[in-house]
Amino acid sequence: MLFASASDETLIGKALGGSQRHWERLVRRHETMVYNYCLRMTRNTSDARDLLQEVFLAVYRHLPSYRNEGQFKGWMMRIAANKTMDLLRVRQRSPRLSTDDAALDAVQQWQAPDTQNPDRVYEQHNDNHRIRTLLQALPPEQRLVVELKFFQHCTFEEIALQTSTPVNTVKSRLYTSLQKLKDTLEERHVV
């Protein structure tokens, strides 16, 4: 309750002063957004968990260099984008031997619901799985642009800033992504 209304900057100040509680509070405030972002960008929950920890480790290490310029969320998501691209590049260079991590995830994540309507829960689970499968069909750079545009609702200028890419390149990547998503969807409908 004490921290409920504390701003990010206040929590950052206290965390830099060595307060573990304030740091945890700051992490709890943003971790759901970051985790879901990681989940959409990576192939499975295991990678998403690793990435989540990497992101917050990097955030903590760079906290002293954060000078309250702009929003903390944007600064943090810039770090998340960099870390994600690093991970995806590593995965591209040395793909893992797993047959289908996403399919395994789909089995592991599916739990019988407690109180909600099972049909509704299954439908939601299916939507998430469909979105992740579609995103996986895109190369990392295009996936990042789609994520930032459709899920983070960033403007093209913000995306350009986060990805250190010219605005026109961002627009072109989004356009190519849409064409590719269309092809993927059509293939799935045919199959």
């Binding site: 060595g18 879901n36 939507d127 998430n128």
Partner: protein, 223 residues
């Protein structure tokens, strides 16, 4: 019309979000109406906007948020743990210098640079590794069994809930059917009662009319 798709490529998101200026909006309208490719891209963007809106936030799995960030508290110089560590180190050095060997009747042997040969050490290590492998296999099998059992339970639970929901829905539908049937029956009964009342009234009126006619006839016969 020849369309280079550039207008929609640059502004499809602003167009959908309603943020495009009027001139651009008009050009996008035209492209969507007249170019099949632009129409496809526009439809795709719309579909993905809708799909993105369906994403359900996943809960973050349990993790130690401060594991890597909070340095362990430093012990003050000269405290007892520091002295204990120093004493343990010195004891270890003495044990190595004296080549002490500690053995138990169970076969446990702890040697600080003692008489064990490399071959013996390798044999022990190999035996230990084999034992570890066996233990790992057993553990893995047990975990796989547990996982399979959990999945079976989860599926059964899901099936049971589904059946419960289906039964509840059927009960609700049956209840609705019964109540509508009862209200219809009540209305029919009321209608029947009304008709019966009307018929009875008509009969009474007829009887009264006949009585009057009979009385009139009797009267005229008497006269």
């Amino acid at each position: 019309m020849s369309c280079d798709h550039q207008v929609l490529a640059d502004h499809v998101c602003d167009y959908i979000e309603g943020k495009a200026p009027p001139v651009i909006r008009a050009r996008c309208d035209e492209a969507v109406q007249q170019c099949a490719h632009c129409r496809d891209v526009h439809a795709q963007a719309l579909e993905f906007y809708e799909l993105a809106g369906k994403w359900q936030q996943q809960e973050v799995p349990h993790w130690n948020r401060a594991r890597f960030v909070v340095p362990p508290a430093r012990l003050p110089q000269g405290s007892w743990p520091a002295w204990a560590a120093l004493a343990a180190s010195l004891a270890a050095i003495v044990l190595v210098l004296l080549r002490v060997e500690i053995s138990t009747t169970d076969g446990l042997l702890i040697s600080f640079g003692g008489s064990q040969t490399d071959a013996r050490v390798q044999e022990l290590v190999a035996a230990e590794l084999a034992r570890h492998d066996t233990a790992q296999e057993l553990l893995l099998d047990a975990r796989l069994d547990d996982f399979a059992a959990d999945q079976v339970n989860a599926n059964q639970l899901l099936l049971a809930r589904w059946q419960e929901v289906a039964r509840a829905e059927r009960r609700q539908e049956l209840g609705l059917l019964m109540s509508s049937w009862q209200s219809q029956r009540f209305e029919d009964q009321q209608e029947f009662n009304n008709q019966l009342t009307r018929l009875t009234n008509d009969q009474i009126e007829n009887n009264q009319y006949l009585n009057v006619l009979l009385q009139n006839a009797a009267q005229s016969r008497r006269n």
